[in-house]
């Protein structure tokens, strides 16, 4: 069972028409024996660039996000259906990725360099590569090697 995220850019419309368009969109999902987990309204905003769709140029759009479950084989059909809808400017379907669980390590990263663990490891590994050197306190009063 794959959860998809459907991102919709809708034409700026009055509330009633918007509801009708969303209903149409949702019905298409239900017809494909899918269901919706979540509908989110991300607001009506200027688009990053002007966009033409169905022969009209748009500068503003209503952003909607629909989380849905549909059979994977019907995703292409859905996209094709939405592409024919004149109220939908842009549509995109993504696979929903569960949020990764990252631990905050900022306090470790903010430490001075010699206290950081990765720096310490680096120093240790570089020490391993160093050649053995002659130590001057070994009792010999001269340097035994060629200088």
């Amino acid at each position: 069972m794959i959860t998809y995220e459907l991102c919709l850019l809708l034409r700026v419309m009055p509330k009633k028409e918007l509801a009708a368009t969303l209903k149409r969109t949702a019905t298409a999902i239900f017809d494909k024996s899918g269901f919706i987990r979540k509908i989110e309204n991300l607001g009506t905003r200027d688009m990053p660039y002007k966009t033409s769709s169905h022969g009209v140029v748009y500068n503003k759009a209503s952003y909607f996000l629909i989380e849905m479950n549909v059979p994977p084989s019907t995703v292409e059909e859905l996209k094709e259906e939405y592409s024919r809808d004149v109220d939908i400017i842009r549509r995109r379907v993504y696979k929903k990725i569960p949020p990764s669980e990252a631990e905050c390590t900022l306090h470790e990263e903010m430490l001075p360099a010699p206290y950081r663990k990765d720096v310490q490891e680096l120093i240790a590994s570089s020490k391993k590569l160093q050649k053995p050197r002659f130590s001057y306190n070994s009792g010999l009063d001269y340097y035994p090697f060629q200088k």
């Binding site: 509801a19 019905t27 269901f35 919706i36 991300l42 607001g43």
Partner: protein, 214 residues
Amino acid sequence: MLRVLNCLKGLQLGAEALSPNPTLQTVRWRRKPRWIPKARSKLFKIPEIPKIPKEENDELARLFNNYRTQMKSIRRHFTYKYCTHMQKTENLNQKLEEEADLRRCIELNDKWNVEVKKTREARIAADIEKEVELAEDRVLERQRINAEKLEEAEKLVREQKAVAHTFITSENIDEAIDKAISNEVDYNFSIDLEGNKYMGRTKSPDEEKIAVKQ
């Protein structure tokens, strides 16, 4: 060896210079390689076929036939003589000794075979035991993995069943759409130097400060 000798010949040295062996003889072996064409001066030369008179040819054939027959008979004679000589010199004692030696060899071989068989069987048994153990381990591991997978799948189903009542279907779609249109969601936020998070795209923590737009 021949090539070396040819090189020496080129240096006007004989084989004698290389080795004092009197049986060594230089072989004249020089021929044009197959891919080199006929010399231009010899291009239109037709070698003459030697004409041998019929009487002479017959005589030569007769002589050579005689020679061949005689050589064959001599060779057969020597072979026969050699065989009979070998059979005569074989004495009884030697034969017995050889047989005894063979028997001893066979006995020793059998003994070794028995020893090797013992070690081989032990080794094969150990190998089989090890393999059986490995296979059992593999089976157990596979069973564990399968159980884990099943458990994971069941966990997923349980989780989904628990949240199933929140799913939007054709019955409650109108309410959900109305709710979504009236509640705008904004995931943008800004943070200040203390790490405080201010949710919203244009919201500022207070009027003096201006929130950093993400």
